[in-house]
Symmetry: C2
Subunit: 356 residues, 2 copies
């Protein structure tokens, strides 16, 4: 079983498939490009996008010591991996047992969690959580309290003995807009709402943003007041974010083995159980993806420009690189990733923050 | 961490969420309904749909001792769980290390794998696999050799010392057709192709079908010659198959906790990382699902029939049951499931066949 005793792999051709591969040069380029625009604490990398303490450690090597998490398991895993300088759980949690487990690692990690209601404030306080941010709704129909309710919630949290470090808001509805001028205007308007809330709440944290508009935040932080950006996808990237023309390279692909070939199509062993599908089908360079099944992807070579010829299908046993449409759920499906340079395999890293 | 030390849970309200729950009465109904139409070896349940040896053991209690698998890990897990009376890997595999691991459990399990090319025949023979089926393409653009190539492949496999038990074909393109008369005609035409291949190949197995047309196979097996049906989804069901009016109940749901409520929507902690999304958004009874994010689902109560009133949103902390659009990839995302009867929690079962 490859899970327990992985074979020594030197080339992508040696990997058991489906295999998550991350190109080290593209990854390093992405981490460097981001840390140049948002150095140090200006970026709070979101670990939900890769769920790997090893990749988080690389982000820390690029100067980012504060991290964003989406689950309690991510938070505790980061704390236990020694990456707990400043961990933000950017989601609301009501589960008393999980909150208690999270509070228990406050001896070794700085733990802050998002709250947006009386119930989430009270659950945090009961568990002994010491630091919170007020999560403010700034337009995305998801979590976050109404802007007019922030001061009241902050007061409630402080009355229960917790430190309110400031506010966060996630303008997720603005992350992907190919009209980047409109995206900028909309982002700044959302930050006006968040800044007003921040002034009501107090504290020194104003956390927002993501990969899709990290540069808007970098350009305007003097006026918006945003102190940190919660980007995650930039490290590995996917086809969804690639439409924006950001300076990040595609570092992630899923390598499959061609297991069956036919006159008009070929099949590789990468399917719905190894690909996040909510943003649609993945892509294969120079090929057309027909559809995915549980364990398979059916694809074809593209016809020539004059539609008269078609390149031959890849041979049975050859490898193909498949680029997912959405990085986060894809990573959550796999037990480990392989760091590669071209076709050379350099290292195997666990995806150790899966689950809840 | 609930993975290692699950809390004692008596009610769905005690479960850490997201939680896979399976209603025991619906499950038992489904298993009984299927085994009545396709008793014993006429059904070869596909474990890819639930990835749980515990659920496979329930299927065996209903008389089915032969199972279908999609991955080598499923095969080996079933063998090691003592469920190896007759295991079919209905997919092609080229990985020498995995095939060797699979061959090594032939001392305790009857192992048969699908082959559809010289390369897959040769890989099976090299690994010491003793039994194969010739996988025949009967219309779905995926695996399976061309019908005219079956006899040659069977001869090649026998020349290498393997037993060719017969043929399989998967008419996946015919599984969901609300015009069931057309589905029947198309299925019978596909079986004509498979039967011709079976007569070329020899052996006594002719394996085909799935949940969507299991009853067509049950009605016509005397003329089609199909000896066994590979259905999986029928046990737990999803919204995709529910359109067909089959006599199976929805046994599976994902329970979430409402973590945030708003004027026009509510948010629960079940998202893209806990739901197979390739068939679209999940459903929530009496509510409208707006969208899913990595860890969240945003939903709203439906307006009244005259559109003048709207039921109140559920309270923060309350539980909601979410029905996935596709059962197989959903199950693959979770570590365990809870057997329930109504809101009462009866047992916790591992989803132990995940990965590859």
């Amino acid at each position: 079983m490859t899970h327990h005793t992985p074979r020594p792999a030197r080339s992508i051709a040696d990997l058991a498939t489906p295999a998550v591969v991350v190109d080290i040069d593209a990854l390093e380029h992405n981490l460097a490009a981001m840390s140049e625009r948002l150095p140090g604490a200006l970026l709070r990398p979101h670990v939900k996008a890769h769920k790997s303490t090893a990749l988080a450690a690389l982000q820390r090597q690029h100067g980012h010591h504060h991290f964003t998490c989406a689950t309690v398991r991510e938070m505790i895993g980061m704390a236990k991996a020694g990456l707990g300088d400043d961990l933000l759980l950017a989601n609301e949690v009501l589960d008393a047992e999980r909150l208690a487990a999270l509070a228990a690692v406050q001896d070794r990690a700085m733990i802050t969690i998002a709250v947006d209601s009386d119930a989430t404030v009270d659950a945090a306080a009961r568990a002994g959580i010491q630091h919170v941010l007020i999560d403010v709704n700034i337009g995305l129909p998801r979590c976050g309290c109404a802007p007019h309710d922030t001061a009241r919630l902050a007061e409630r949290a402080r009355a229960k003995g917790m430190v309110v470090r400031g506010v966060m808001g996630y303008e997720g509805h603005l992350m992907v807009n190919e009209n980047r001028a409109t995206q900028r205007t909309d982002t700044l308007a959302a930050m006006d709402v968040l800044r007003a809330a921040a002034s009501e709440v107090g504290g020194d944290v104003m956390s927002a943003g993501g990969t899709g508009n990290y540069d808007v935040h970098a350009d305007h932080r003097a006026t918006t007041g945003v102190t940190e950006v919660q980007a995650g996808s930039y490290a590995l990237m996917d086809t969804y974010y690639s439409t924006l023309g950001l300076p990040f390279r595609q570092a992630l692909s899923i390598v499959g083995t061609v297991v069956s070939t036919h006159d008009k199509w070929a099949v590789a062993d990468v399917g719905l159980k190894s690909l996040g599908m909510d943003h649609g089908d993945p892509t294969i360079a120079d090929h057309k993806v027909w559809f995915c099944s549980d364990e398979h992807i059916t694809f074809a070579t593209e016809k020539s420009a004059d539609a008269t010829t078609r390149a031959p299908q890849p041979a049975v046993g050859s490898r193909v690189r498949i680029v997912p449409a959405h990085v986060d759920p894809t990573m959550a499906m796999h037990e480990h990733l392989w760091l590669v340079r071209g076709d050379e395999v350099l290292d195997r890293l666990p995806i150790d923050l899966r689950g809840w």
